[in-house]
Symmetry: C2
Subunit: 201 residues, 2 copies
DNA sequence: GTCTATACAAAGATAGAC
DNA sequence: GTCTATCTTTGTATAGAC
C-alpha cells in the first residue's frame, strides 16, 4: 500500500519508535514520558492522547521485544527438517545478528520479565520448546544428560556476552570495537564447541 | 569485639540490610525510599539521617555487590598454584553456590553497570584478569583461540541461567524447584564440557 | 536517635484553546 | 490532531518536637 510509507512516519508511529528506544535503554521505571516525547520530537500530551498511559505504551513495546527474542528460537527448534548441528548453527547465527543490531534487547527483556513475571506466565508459548524437534534430537544424541542443560549452555554462550557486555568492558576484558568481531567469531566457535561437547565422551 | 553483635542490629545496619534486599530486587529507579524504610521497620526520616540520600545509600550497596561478584573470579584466576582444570571447577562451584544464595545479584549488577558505566570505569581492577594465570594457561593450552572467548563461554554457561531464570520459567523450560538441582548438577557438567572443548580438536 | 509533619521537586495525566 | 498550561500524585528530603 502506498499509504504505508506515510503511516510509518505518523505521530503514533514516531512515539512508538521513540518508546522502543528509551524503554529498551533505561527500563520502565527509569524512563520518563517526557524523555519519550522529546525523543519523538512531539508534545508530551500527545503521548497520552494516542496511548492512554505510560503503562499501556510500555506493554505494547514489551510484547514486541519478547516476540523478537523468542521468535528466533521457536521456529528453528520446531523445524523437524534440519539436523541438530544445523539447528545449533542457525540459533547462534540468528541471535548474534539480532543482538548486534539490538544490544539492549536481552537485558531489557530479562529485567522486565523478572520485575513482573505474572505478565508473562502462559504468554510465552509454554512447551513450544520442551516438545520441539530440537529437544528430541538432543535426547537421542545424548540420553545421559538432561537436554535442558545443553540448551541453557547454548543460550548462555550465545546471549550472555550481550547481557554482560558493559561488565566485560568495565573489567577490561574487551576494548572498544573489538566486541563486534568477537561476536562474529562466535558464530563459528560456538557450534564447534557444542559439537565437541556432544561428541567427545 | 562484643559490641559487634549489637552493632549488627543497629538502625543503620537494619536500613542497609533492607536496602540490599529492595535495591537488588527492583533496581535503583523502581525502588522508593519508603519501601526501604518499611522493609527495615523504621521511619523514613532515619534513612536520610544515616545516609544523606537514596543515591548515597545505593552506592554503598552497589559497591558491595560488585565486589561479591568479582570477588569470586579474581582470586581464582590469579592463583598460579592451581591447574587450569582446577580453576574451571572452582569458578563454577563458587559461582553456583554464591548465586543460589543471591539469585538477583547478576541481573542487578549488570543492569546498573549498564545504566551508569562511568561509575565503574577503572574501578573494577582492570587487567586483573587479562594478565592472570588463568589467561596464560588458556593461551598455552589452545593458542589457536582467543582466551577471552573461552572465558566468556565459561561465564555464560555458569552465570547466564541465573540471569535468565525468570525467562526459563516463563518459557516452561524449568519448573518449580527443579532449578536448584539443575544448577547443582552444572557444577559437574560445566567443567566436563569445558574440558571437552579444550581437549577435542 | 527517633518520630511527625511538611516542604519541595519530579513525573504522569488531563483540560481546554486552537 | 496538536499545543500550552495546569492538576495530581508520588517520592525525596528536611525542620523541628521529643
Amino acid at each position: 500500500m502506498s499509504k504505508k510509507a506515510i503511516k510509518d512516519t505518523s505521530t503514533e508511529e514516531k512515539i512508538k519508535q521513540a518508546a522502543r528506544i528509551v524503554f529498551t535503554k533505561k527500563g520502565f521505571a527509569a524512563t520518563r514520558t517526557r524523555d519519550i516525547a522529546e525523543e519523538a520530537g512531539i508534545n508530551l500530551a500527545l503521548l497520552n492522547y494516542y496511548f492512554r498511559s505510560k503503562e499501556k505504551l510500555f506493554q505494547q513495546v514489551m510484547m514486541e521485544k519478547v516476540q523478537m527474542i523468542f521468535g528466533v528460537l521457536f521456529p528453528i527448534a520446531n523445524n523437524s527438517e534440519t539436523t541438530l548441528e544445523e539447528k545449533v548453527a542457525l540459533i547462534v547465527e540468528n541471535y548474534v545478528d539480532l543482538l548486534l543490531l539490538n544490544p539492549d534487547l536481552p537485558l531489557f527483556v530479562l529485567s522486565e520479565i523478572r520485575n513482573n513475571p505474572e505478565h508473562f506466565e502462559n504468554k510465552v508459548g509454554i512447551n513450544m520448546i520442551k516438545q520441539s524437534s530440537l529437544i528430541s534430537q538432543l535426547k537421542e544424541k545424548r540420553a545421559d544428560v538432561n537436554p535442558i542443560q545443553f540448551l541453557i549452555s547454548l543460550l548462555g554462550m550465545t546471549i550472555f556476552p550481550f547481557v554482560a557486555s558493559p561488565m566485560l568492558h568495565a573489567a577490561g576484558l574487551v576494548e572498544g570495537n573489538e566486541f563486534t568481531s568477537l561476536m562474529q567469531q562466535r558464530k563459528q566457535l560456538i557450534p564447534l564447541w557444542i559439537n565437541s561437547i556432544l561428541d567427545c565422551k
